[in-house]
Structure formats: C-alpha cells, structure tokens
Amino acid sequence: MTRNASLALVQGTLDMLVLKALTFGRRHGYGVAQWVRATTGGRLEVEEGALYTALHRMERRGWLESEWGVSENNRRAKYYALTAEGRRQLRSQKRQWSEYADAVFAVLESKEARA
C-alpha cells in the first residue's frame, strides 16, 4: 500500500479507536493516547496530534461531548465522553470493519482456483 492510502485507512480506523477508547468512561486527550498505545502495544504508529484532531472533529459531529475538569494530577484537563450518536457510530463502524475483514480473509484463505 502506498503511504497515502495507508494514511486514509488510518484516519477511518483512528476514529474507531478513539470511540472505543471512550467506551470505558470519559478520558482526556492524553488518556486516550495512552490507552491506544497500550492496547495496540505500539504496533500502530499514530501521531498524537492526529488523535486530537479526531477528538475535536468528532465533537463537532456530535459523536462526543467535552467538559473541562481536574485531572488525577490536579491539573485542568479537557475530558471527552461518548454521546448516544457516538455509540451508534462505533457499533456501525465496528460492523463495517468486521464485514470488510471477513471479505478480505475469505479471499486470502480461498483454496479454489475458480469461484
């Protein structure tokens, strides 16, 4: 895959990752970044700036809502949480991704020369 195509793919999946990160409760931007790094084990190269862009964009679309609060270290931080719409989006994107993955796997594992 070319670099551009991989970036595009990442943007779509980035949204999914962020949404997933917030299913366990509200987090601030740094917390989301931490979670993504920990969960993917460093296997996915994600620029943290892109994460923040994703957070703000999804807030504009109404999938997230934000609120200023106090962090664990007693610092002012912006917390994000899923909205109902956000949850719906996560479900639908998860389904789409699964279907896509199934289709690709079907192709890769096919043992037949013809259809």
């Binding site: 931007g29 740094y30 970044a33 620029e47 862009t53 703000h56 807030e59 200023w68 610092r75």
Partner: protein
C-alpha cells in the same frame, strides 16, 4: 446539559485559542512527566514528546479552526432559535388581542390604502412612462413658445403644424421624430353611427415609440402616403370588444370616415396615446387628414415627439431645433409669424410638461394629504400599542425579573408592529385595487385607467410603507415594553413614572394629530368654497337641460355652400318638433370655443381696448336668446326671422355698448365687420361668459346668421328631460337630409364640467381625506382620554374624597380635551396659513387666509373634541371613590 455548559464557553471565539493551548499543554506536561519517570532527561523527554505528537503548529491550527467553526454554528443556531421564539410570541400576541389587531389593521388599512391609491395615480401620471414605450427617457414632447397676437403675450403650445414639425426634425441631434393627431372618425351610419377614437400618425410613429404589436404589424413609413393602400391598426380593447379578440382579424376591412381600411395589426394591451388616452384605432395621417391640415403652416393639429440621439443633451437638441424652425419659417415668410419662436422639449408625460392641466396639481396636493393621513393613522396605532404595553406593565415586569432579556421584549413589540403593518398593508392593497381605478376615473377621465391595471411599483412601495409604518408606530411602545420603570410597576404604584411620561407623550401625539387635521380641513374648506364660488358663477345664460347637436355629413355628398341650407332645414324641423321647447343655431356653441373678429365703426379710427382687445363674436339663428334665457336690456334680441337675410343685424353686450357708445344710444348705430357694410345694432344684452367661468369682461356682439356662414352647432332645449329627448332630436335631424351621416348630441353641461372639475375634485377629495383624518384623530383623542381616565381612577378617587363634585371631575376631562383641541387649532391654523398661499393658483375667488374657512374648521374641531371627551368624562364622573381608593 454538560454539553450545553461547555458549549456556552465555546461561544467566545478568542477562548478557542486559549482552550486548545491549555489542552495541548496538559498533554505535553503529562507526556514529559511519564517520560521523566522512565528515566529520560528533560531534553530527551521533550524531544520524544514532540516526536510522538507530530507537527504541533499544524495541529494547533487545525484544532483551533475546528473549534471556531463549532462555536459559530452554535451561535447561529441560538440566534435562529431566539428569532423564532420572538416571532412566535409576536404572532401569538397579535392573535390574542383580537380587537386591538382589528383596530390597528383598520386604521392602517385606511391610511395605507389612501396612499396606495394616490401613489398609483401619481405614478401613472408623473413617474412611469406611458406603457409600451421603449427607452422613454430618450423621448421628448415638442412644444413651441411664441408671441400670440390674440393673447398679447408669449404662450407655449403643445400642438404643432405638420410642416413646422417636419422642419424641426431635420435637426441633427435627433434620432427620429413622429407626429400624431387625435381625431374622431365615424363608423356606421345614422342611428348606429358611433365615433371611433382615432389617432392619425406619421409613418414612423411606432418606430419612434418603440412598441411591438401583439398581432400582425404596425403602420410603417410606406403606409403614410396618399397613394398607399389604406391600413389601420386596432387598439387592444377595441379589438376585444368589437372582434371578440379573434386572431383571424388581419386582412378584414373596417369602414370608418369616408373610406375602408384593411386591418394589419393589433396593438398590445394597455397601449394608449402618448397623452394616456384610450385609442380605438390608429391610421396613417396622410389617409385621413385634409391637405390643408397636412400642409398648412397655420394648422396646429399635431402633437410631436422626438427621440434624442444617445449622449445628446435636451437643451442642445432644443437649440438646434429652434434654429432650424426659425430658418424654415423665414423661408416661408407667411403672415405674422413671429421669428422669435422657441422650441421647448418637455418630458414625455404631459402632466410633467408645461401643458399640465390643473387636475394634476390637485393630484399632487392630494398625494401630500394622503401622506399626512397616514401619519395621523400611524400615531393612532402607536397610541394603541403604547396603551396596551402600559396595561401589561405588571406582566412585563415579571418577565424581566424572570430573566427575559429586555432586547427580546422590545424586539417582540417591534415585530408585532411589523406584523400588524403588513396585515394592514395587505388589506390596503385589496381596497386600493378597486379604489384606484375609480379614483383615477374621477380625477382624470380622459386617461385610460382601467386598461393598464396596476402600476408595478405600487405593491412594493405599499409593502415598504406598511413595514415602516408598523415599525415606527411600535418604537415608543417597544421602549416601554423593554421594562423601564419596572420596579415601580412591581411595587404596584398606580401612577408610576412610566404612566406619567407616556401620558404626556400620548397627549402630545394627540395634539399633533389635531394640528394636522386642522391643516387638512382648512385646505378642504378653501377648495369647497372655491368650488361653491365657481359653481354659482353666473355665466349670464341658462345652460341647464340644453343639448348641443353636431352634424356630420357623409363625405363627398355636400359642398360647403350646401351645408348652411341643411342646417337651416334641420333647425326649422326642430323648432316645430313637439318635444322641443326652443331650438337655435350658433356659429360656436357657448363653452365650445370662441371666434374673435374686431368690429370697426364707420366714423371712428380707433376704438377703446378692453381686456385683450379682441371682440368675441357669435352668429346665431333661431331662438338663441330665448333658449338661453337671455333678455335684452335695451332694444330687442335676435329673432328667428332675422336669419338668412341679405342684411345682417347685430346685438351687442353691455361692455361693448358702454365702451363704444358711452354717451349715445347704441340702438340703430352701425358696426362694420370685415366689410364697410353697415350692420345695424338692434339691441343690447347683458354680458355673458362665452368662454367659461374664468372669462374676463370683453366686448362681444352677436350677428344674425346668413347663407355664407358655413358651420354651426344646433342648440336644443327639450320640453322633457331624459335620454329619450336626445334620441328624438337625433332622429329628427337625421330625417332632415339623407346626406347627414351622424349626429352627436351632448348635454351643454358636459362642456362646463371640465372647467369645474379641478375645484370639484379638490373640494370632494380634500374633504373626504380631511374628514378621514379628523375621524382618525377623534378616535385617537378618545382613546387617549379614555385610557387616561382608566389609569387615573385612584387620583380621581382622591379628588372625590377631598370634596370635588362629579361635575368638576367631568369638567377636568373636558378641559383637557379642549386644551388639546385649542393648541391643535393654533398650531394647525398657523401651518395652514403658512402653506395655503401655495394653493392660490388652484383656488377660485377665495383668499388663502379666508377667515370663514378657518373659523369653521376651528368650531368643527372643538365640537369633535367635546364629542370625543364625552364618554371618558362620563366615566370619570361615575368613579366610585370607595372602590378607586381601595384598588391597585
């Protein structure tokens, strides 16, 4: 809810930068802290954090832009919601207070309707070009100003002779010129004969005007030749009524006048003559007009219009045309034509040029009056709205205390005003639609009002005026609705400062209304007196019930020499007709123009000059003087057997008798007309106003008719009035001779009416508007008084408790009304006195500062003010002090 709060903060644009800054700062702090705890140095931690994040500047910009967009969208949405809320509240308020809405709508409909009507008329007369004229501001109407011998002064005329017009249009700065003459062709024969309103045009008329036919083609230059095939273009309304709008009408023939014409085209709907008169048919000039009319330099029958070349100024063109005209005239060297003639180019619309009729001036005055009426109506509406706001002050105070923004309250009132204005405007347009055509027909009947429908500007202008009026009326109420003086209202003070100041304001408004009404009524009064004076002017003869009959002959059947005999025969027939009381023949019927020819006396060289120095003369036959009920003061009048003799006899009027024979008896004296033959004077009659109401004293004489007097009009006084009389007379005349094709019978009064029209209009419409203004003002005054009384019940109760009698209380209210009326009269009269001199030209025999008029208006206003104060005074007197003191 959480979203709402954070969004509220997001609303402030500059915080977007700060928020993003803070968010990213937190991120970096935590990242560095984590890395430090893993053992990196500060520098290494910083580098690693940056590397993980990416291009900070780029991302920061992106984040800020996303946040700003979000804030903007939310702000817009909130504004839209607020506006919708206010609009809904306004609509609800309008629907809820139904009576107020109806009252306001009615008031505004009156004021706006009157204005829409007048604007429509003014627009059509003065502002919009005649319909179907292309590029009208390059067109000019041609007038000639020259010395007129008969008036002994320079006069401007709008009618030209064709040769002089053709000469003028040689000027290089013109892109074309066309002439037209309004004629009446006869179609049909005998009792079915009817006149066709015809416009005879030069070949290039339609080209210059720039219109396009709706069917077929227009007249072209090749049609305007004597040898060309006779063609005619139908007017749209004529086409509809006579041919049912049939599309196969081209090629059919139309018999009119002495010839048959082929129909080649139909004009578009609403196309009128350039004087805005309706037209039945258009024909080429050379095919209907006599040789004399086409070639005579002295035959002033045509109107002329020229199209200026692009970029040429009107004054340059006029100068060029003047030069060309003078040169052409010098070459003619005919008669007493003045070489200092000047061409004047005026706007296309006659009402804007030098020949505008008096009615146009009246129309302009009426338009101004209409605006004043609207102003008065607007004040009433303001008062009504203000009164409601005052009544609802508690409610408003509560809303303000609950946190509704003042701006929103004011905005709601303004929006209500706008809504009410629009409703009133809609009602006004509906009314004006019908009223406009009717008013136009009354004002200027020569103009084709019905054909054009509505001027396209009336609707937008009226809507604009409606919005402006509604909003203006609502301004002061809106200010009060925003809750000033709230604290007092909540505390329950009955006569809070808010009520007092508005009371003064409302009284001031009532005063303004009174003053304006006085002003209008004075104008109306002056016109009424003018009309009364004009109407009762003694013309010197009795025209009531008299009919004029004009005879038209079938072309080619009679010579000029034969016609007098035909007329004489017709006269005799009429005199012996059972339905006729008296019949006569006159060279020119009274009020239909005058002929002037000076007499000479055999033994005198010079004669005294009265007025313009011209002697008006009239040839008569039959029972002329009996018919008009004119009695001789000396000698006798002309009798039926004086006519058709070789020797004429004459009767002179008193002015002539006094001037020419001051010391002698004119009876038996000789006068000479054109020849040296002695025409004997047999009687003296009182002065009559042959020309009309405004005629100045002049010398006039009457001659008995003779065989060589060519034409004349028959005058008939029927025994019984009614339409049957006209038909009987027409039939009798037609019966006399088969060569008579058509007889036109009109009531003599119709010749007088146009002269009175301007004053009648001024009187009736001014009075109507003035009374309307007075009614609206009276209602306004009543409302102000009634409302005041209702707000001041406590004060009244106190006064009662302190010993004031009921009569005294009522007296206070009445005095207040009289004070307003009095002040209004003073101010209004002063305004009227200042402006009335401008009316001078439109008045007849009345001084602009006529005391009777002003006094009558003052009395009227006082009476109206008393009437308006009656009910409130009554109510004030009946206030029960016990209830009043306890209340509130």
């Amino acid at each position: 809810m959480r979203r709402g709060r954070s969004v509220l903060r997001m609303l402030r644009l500059r915080d977007a930068t700060r928020d993003v800054e803070e968010e990213l700062r937190h991120h970096f702090e935590e990242t560095v802290r984590e890395l430090l705890s893993r053992g990196l140095t500060e520098a290494e931690a910083g580098r690693e954090a940056s590397a993980r994040f990416g291009d900070v500047a780029h991302y920061r910009r992106e984040l800020e832009s996303i946040d700003r967009g979000m804030a903007r969208r939310v702000r817009l949405q909130r504004r839209r919601e607020a506006l919708r809320d206010v609009a809904v509240d306004a609509v609800r308020a309008v629907v809820r207070s139904r009576w107020l809405t109806v009252a306001v709508m009615a008031t505004l409909a009156l004021g706006l309707g009157v204005n829409a009507t007048m604007f429509d008329i003014i627009d059509r007369l003065l502002l919009s070009p005649p319909p179907h004229v292309a590029d009208a501001d390059r067109l000019r109407r041609v007038h000639v100003e020259q010395w007129e011998e008969w008036a002994r002064e320079r006069r401007t005329r709008g009618t030209l002779s064709l040769p002089e017009f053709v000469a003028m249009t040689e000027a290089a700065s013109l892109a074309g010129g066309a002439a037209w003459a309004e004629q009446r062709l006869t179609a049909g024969h005998g009792m079915d004969a009817r006149p066709l309103t015809t416009v005879a045009v030069s070949g290039n008329y339609f080209d210059v005007v720039g219109a396009r036919p709706v069917l077929g083609r227009f007249i072209e230059p090749s049609d305007d030749a004597v040898s060309a095939e006779r063609v005619v273009v139908l007017g749209h309304a004529f086409w509809q009524s006579e041919y049912g709008g049939a599309t196969d009408v081209l090629g059919r023939t139309l018999a009119a006048g002495s010839a048959t014409y082929t129909i080649v085209g139909v004009a578009p709907k609403g196309m009128t003559s350039l004087r805005l008169a309706p037209v039945d048919v258009w024909v080429p000039a050379r095919q209907v007009m006599t040789q004399q009319a086409l070639e005579g330099w002295g035959y002033l029958t045509f109107g002329g219009v020229v199209r200026l070349r692009d970029g040429i100024d009107e004054s340059v063109a006029a100068e060029q045309m003047t030069g060309v005209l003078r040169r052409a005239r010098a070459e003619q060297a005919e008669g007493s034509m003045d070489d200092a003639a000047r061409v004047i180019l005026a706007p296309l619309l006659e009402a804007r040029g030098p020949m505008a009729v008096a009615e146009v001036r009246v129309a302009k005055w009426l338009a101004a009056v209409a605006v004043i009426v609207l102003l008065i109506a607007c004040i009433n509406v303001a008062n009504l709205l203000l009164a409601r706001v005052i009544r609802q002050r508690r409610e408003i105070a509560v809303r303000v205390a609950l946190g509704v923004s003042r701006r929103r309250l004011a905005g709601q009132t303004l929006l209500e005003g706008l809504l009410l204005g629009l409703l009133g405007g809609a009602a006004a347009l509906l009314g004006a639609r019908w009223l406009g055509t009717a008013a136009g027909r009354i004002l200027l009947p020569g103009v084709a009002w019905a054909e054009v429908g509505w001027s396209s500007r009336v609707v937008p202008i009226t809507v604009l005026a409606a919005c402006a009026t509604g909003v203006c009326a609502a301004i002061v109420p809106a200010i009060h609705a925003s809750g000033r003086g709230v604290a007092n209202a909540l505390r329950g003070a009955g006569t809070g400062a808010a009520v007092r100041t508005t009371s003064r304001f409302r009284t001031a408004l009532a005063l303004v209304q009174a003053a304006l009404s006085v002003m209008l009524l004075v104008g109306a009064g002056l016109f009424v007196r003018s009309f009364a004076a004009a109407h009762s002017t003694d013309l010197g003869f009795d025209m009531r019930d008299v009919l004029y009959a004009d005879v038209r002959y079938s072309p080619g059947t009679t010579t000029a020499a034969e016609r007098p005999a035909i007329l004489a025969a017709a006269l005799e027939r009429l005199r012996t007709h059972p339905a006729v009381e008296a019949a006569a023949l006159a060279g020119t019927a009274p009020l239909s123009g005058t002929m002037m020819l000076n007499v000479t006396l055999p033994d005198r060289d010079s004669l005294p000059v009265i007025g313009s120095g011209y002697h008006i003369f009239q040839t008569v036959a039959g029972d002329y003087f009996e018919l008009l009920r004119v009695r001789a003061v000396r000698g006798r009048t002309l009798r039926a057997d004086d006519a058709w003799r070789d020797a004429r006899v004459a009767v002179v009027n008193e002015t002539m008798a006094r001037a020419l024979w001051p010391d002698a008896d004119p009876i038996g004296a000789c006068i000479q007309v054109r020849t040296t033959d002695c025409i004997q004077v047999v009687g003296v009659v009182p002065d009559t106003k042959q020309q009309g109401i405004r005629q100045q004293p002049a010398m006039q004489y009457f001659l008995s008719m003779r065989d060589d007097d060519g034409s004349g009009t028959l005058l008939v006084r029927p025994r019984v009035r009614g339409a049957g009389a006209a038909d009987a007379i027409r039939a009798a005349i037609l019966d006399t001779d088969p060569r008579i094709r058509m007889v036109e019978v009109v009531a003599a009064r119709e010749r007088l009416d146009p002269q009175l029209r301007a004053w009648r209009l001024g009187a009736s419409l001014f009075t109507a508007f003035g009374l309307l203004a007075l009614l609206v003002s009276a209602i306004g005054l009543y409302a102000v008084m009634a409302f005041d009384v209702s707000q001041r019940t406590r004060e009244i109760g106190v006064r009662c408790a302190l010993g004031a009698t009921r009569a005294r209380i009522a007296g206070l209210v009445v005095m207040r009304a009289l004070a307003v009326a009095g002040a209004g009269i003073v101010i209004g009269a002063a305004l009227a006195a200042a402006l009335a001199p401008r009316l001078r030209d439109s008045l007849y025999d009345v001084h602009p500062h006529d005391a009777v008029t002003y006094a009558a208006v003052a009395v009227t206003l006082i009476a109206v003010a008393l009437a308006a104060a009656l009910l409130p005074a009554n109510r004030a007197a009946r206030v029960d002090p016990n209830i009043a003191l306890r209340a509130d």
